[in-house]
Amino acid sequence: MNEQWLGLITGILFGALLQQGRVLRFEKQVGAMLLKDMTILKFMLSAIIVGMIGINLLASLGLVALKIKATQLGAILAGGILFGAGWSLAGYCPGTSIGAVAEGRWHAVWAILGMLAGAALFAETYPFLKGSLLAWGNFRTITLPGVLGISPWAVIPLLTVVYILIFVWFEKKGM
């Protein structure tokens, strides 16, 4: 039961922070895609800077293991494009759709129903896609420092600076 309790507690914090960051709203999601309101990217990149430093520190100390998803070009290219198209129309990604309903934006229910249908549809097509499109261009679990052949601690400060410069640019443009 520990696993479920830990998930629930972490989720409550995740949901409260998504809500307080104001990223659960359709106008923030579509606003970012219209390049007018970058709230969701400010939120994501802030989380990424802190998490990147924290998780890599724990990993370097040998306290945790990383869990990297495989870089499968065919799957990521096709899936990424389909996701982006659906995201612009639905106005929510999977996590934010749940939180949006919770803060009263009940129209996100239609997106959730669509996502459940999409998951069921994928389960039906998986046997056909598995050996073809999904298997194409599999570079396995690679990381940026791994590919460059350098320490993650050479990449992390550089990315932190890049992300902060992106923030400065957003604020300058009033996005």
């Binding site: 696993e3 479920q4 830990l6 998930g7 507690i9 989720g11 409550i12 995740f14 409260a16 809500q19 307080q20 990223v23 359709f26 106008e27 709230t39 969701i40 400010k42 939120f43 994501m44 989380a47 802190v50 990147m52 430093i53 924290g54 998780i55 890599n56 306290l63 990383l66 869990k67 998803k69 499968q72 070009l73 799957a75 990521i76 899936g79 990424g80 494009i81 389909l82 982006g84 198209a85 659906g86 995201w87 639905a90 106005g91 999977p94 996590g95 749940i98 939180g99 919770a102 803060e103 009940w106 129209h107 669509g114 996502m115 459940l116 999409g118 389960a123 998986y126 940026l144 590919v147």
Partner: protein, 180 residues
Amino acid sequence: MARRIVWRPYIAGALLGVVATISVLVTTQILDKPQYLGASTTFVRAAGMIERLIVPNHVAQNPYFTKEKVIVDWQFMLLIGVFVGACLASLADRSFKAESTPPIWRERFGSRVAVRAVGAFFGGILAMFGARMADGCPSGHGLSGLMQLSVSGFLALALFFATGVLLAHLIYRGKEVRHE
């Protein structure tokens, strides 16, 4: 032109980074398997649970449901938590608001619920089919992927966003967005 910086997304985001880090450490120590933030696999499990009520044998024989396992796991409870946390936080600061159609959508397509329902449903199908194909969504690939410097994360997030930007400009055709 000095604009007032809205710190809210930066602070909430940074705190999420702390939560994500602590969560990986705690799940490693207590469960002996690190849990990283993610969301879309839960939709597979939920779809499997619903289908199982009608066609149990079909779900048992499907290779994808077998691979992802139709169970209530850490991530499933994470999403239930997201619902609880977002609800409590919005009630606490009174930002909870019942809304039948989103503002930007209304300006472009009107306030008919059926039109929004069809658009969101179809969009949801595409988004989830794509997320499962890419093996992750903006949480799993975006947050967790970039935190771990995974090449798949950078590629997926860039594609999600680039396609989203392109399509949103086509769909909403430069309608003015009101700032907070």
